[in-house]
Structures are given as C-alpha cells and as structure tokens.
C-alpha cells in the first residue's frame, strides 16, 4: 500500500477582477495599442500606473502621459526553459524596462535571437499583438530597437 500513487489535486478557481479607474485606463490603452503612464503628486511618471504613490500611499495625480513603447533594459534574467504560464514559450529574458519618459520600470519579456544579444542598457521596443483584449499580454513582448 506504500506505493499507492499520489493523486494530483488541481486547485483551480476563476477570478473576474474589477480594475478600478487607473488600471482600467491602462488596460484600455493597451487594448487600443497605446501605453499610458500616470504621475504621482510629486511628478514621478509611473508605468505601469497606480492609483497611489507606492512610496507614500498618497493618491496619484490625475495627470496622464502617453509613452511610445520604446525603452531601456534596466535588468534581465534569461529563461532557457519557460514555465507553462510565462509570457513567451521560447527562450527569452524577463526584463525590467524603463520606458522612455517613465521614472519606473515595467516588468515584461524581451525576445532576442540569442542570449548573447542581451545586455543591461540595451534599447527595446514593444511588439504588439494584432488581437488585443486589455491585458499585459497585448504587448506580446519587447524586441531590440
């Protein structure tokens, strides 16, 4: 009886997450092929945007700026074997990307032909999906600019 196989128990729950005004605006922009950032009251441009200044809890300002989807890699980690939920299902780099005009970094994927092309400070640009739904995956990934 000791060799009874262990059953796999899948805990699966669907969630319909209401977004609130700020994330809603950001995701609506992504669906429309646009990247929007908002400003904290101290003028810091956050992308992705938050309802608040993460450092103080103060509400963010109502100022929004549109970014053009190009940016610079601040950090990266190369994944040779993606997990089933990863953004890309081929070898790629997770990256922190400082979009031009933003003061914070966006976490996303960068696709290059070869790991040797990856470097901190490299310039990248967003590659959009044709069919967009209002999700971070509307940007398929970033690619060298």
């Amino acid at each position: 009886m000791s060799d009874t196989p262990v059953p796999i128990d899948t805990v699966e729950m669907p969630y319909v997450r209401t977004l609130g005004p700020v994330i809603s605006r950001f995701f609506t922009g992504l669906r429309d092929g646009e990247i929007w950032a908002n400003k904290t009251r101290t003028g810091k441009v956050q992308c992705p945007p938050f309802e608040y200044d993460p450092y103080t809890g103060e509400s963010a300002s109502d100022d929004w700026v549109q970014l053009d989807g190009t940016g610079t890699v601040s950090s990266w980690a190369w994944v040779e074997e993606p997990l089933r939920n990863h953004l890309l299902q081929e070898p790629f780099a997770w990256c922190l990307i400082r979009l031009d005009g933003a003061d914070t970094d966006l976490v996303h994927a960068v696709r290059v032909a070869d790991k040797g092309q990856m470097a901190t400070g490299m310039r990248v640009e967003a590659r959009w999906r044709d069919e967009r739904i209002g999700h971070l995956r509307d940007i398929e990934c970033f690619e060298p600019a």
């Binding site: 000791s2 009874t4 059953p7 796999i8 128990d9 699966e12 209401t18 995701f27 609506t28």
Partner: protein, 176 residues
C-alpha cells in the same frame, strides 16, 4: 467610455500532491472492507475517526498500535434539511444531512441521510453507515464538512433513542 476595459479575467490553477498519511491509508483500506477504524489516544482514551495520527488534546502522536475498530452505527443527534440549489451544491433535490453519534463513542459524524424522506427525519433515529465505493483503491474526493469515506447514513429500523437519551449523549459528548 462604455467600452473601457473594466475587468481582468484570470484563472488561478495550481497542482498539489498531498500524499495520504499512513493512518489515512489504513482508514481507506478499512472503508474498502466496510469497516470503521479509529485511533484511541493512549493518554486520554478519546477516540478519533478517521484516525488523525495524533490526539489534539494531549499532543501525542498515535500509530497502528492505537488503532481499534468502532461500530459504524449510532444515533441521529441532530440534522438539517438542505436545499442544494441554494448552496451551489450538486444535484437539485431537497435532502437531509445529519450528525450521527457512533455507538459506544463520543464521535459524531456528519453525512447525507439516505432511505428516509426529509419530512420523516427526527433525532433519536438509529442509523448505520452507507459506505462509499473506493475508486482505484482511493476514496473519491469529497471535501466539505462530511465524514470521510462514508457517503451517508440510513435508518437501521431499530427503535428510536428517546429524547432524554439523546440529550444524555450530547451531554456526555460535551464533557472534557
């Protein structure tokens, strides 16, 4: 504005492996043989079924040597009639669930009441276990608040316990 993206649909799906403990495996085997086993705490003599492999009152582990067989029959000490539709349960009919206190123990086990109309259910009825069928040597997944390995309870047809006897059982169960 009406076509703004208002929600994010996501599915959290995670796989878990939770190997059964030795006590749970032995309990399952016994259920397959339509037997009910329990562990008796060596310190306070409280009985636990399914066996936990420990006594939470005395903080001691229990093992095979503390295993005993208990009667799968007892007295209905409480019940409720549920309308499954209202609780997102499977099935659609009104059903009764009850707590049965096993003979010679202070253990009450909850389960569906079978073989009796909901309107006829009353405390004091003598009940016996209706066993689940094992699937590949395993208990079908149940979860929830029901007893493990026991699908429910059906009347034995024996005479009822009196209201006084039921109160006495409940009182005995509450003693430390």
């Amino acid at each position: 504005m009406s076509d703004d993206v208002k929600v994010l649909n996501s599915v959290v799906s995670l796989d878990y492996e939770r190997p059964p403990t030795r006590a749970a495996r032995r309990y399952t085997e016994a259920v397959g043989e339509k037997r009910l086993i329990a562990h008796r705490c060596p310190e306070c003599e409280r009985l636990y079924t399914p066996p936990k492999g420990y006594c939470p009152v005395c903080v001691v582990l229990t093992t095979d040597e503390h295993e005993i067989e208990v009667s799968p029959e007892g007295v209905l000490v409480s019940y409720t009639v549920t309308n499954p539709d209202k609780l997102h349960q499977q099935g659609g009919k009104t059903s009764a669930r009850g707590d049965v206190m096993l003979d010679g123990t202070r253990i009450t086990l909850m389960g569906e009441l079978d073989g009796v109309e909901a309107a006829d259910v009353h405390t004091g009825m003598r009940m016996r276990a209706v066993w689940v069928e094992l699937e590949d040597g395993r208990l079908p997944s149940s979860g929830g608040w029901g007893a493990v390995g026991i699908k429910g309870w059906e009347p034995t047809g024996e005479p009822d316990a009196s209201r006084e006897e039921v109160q006495e059982l409940l009182k005995k169960a509450g003693e430390s």
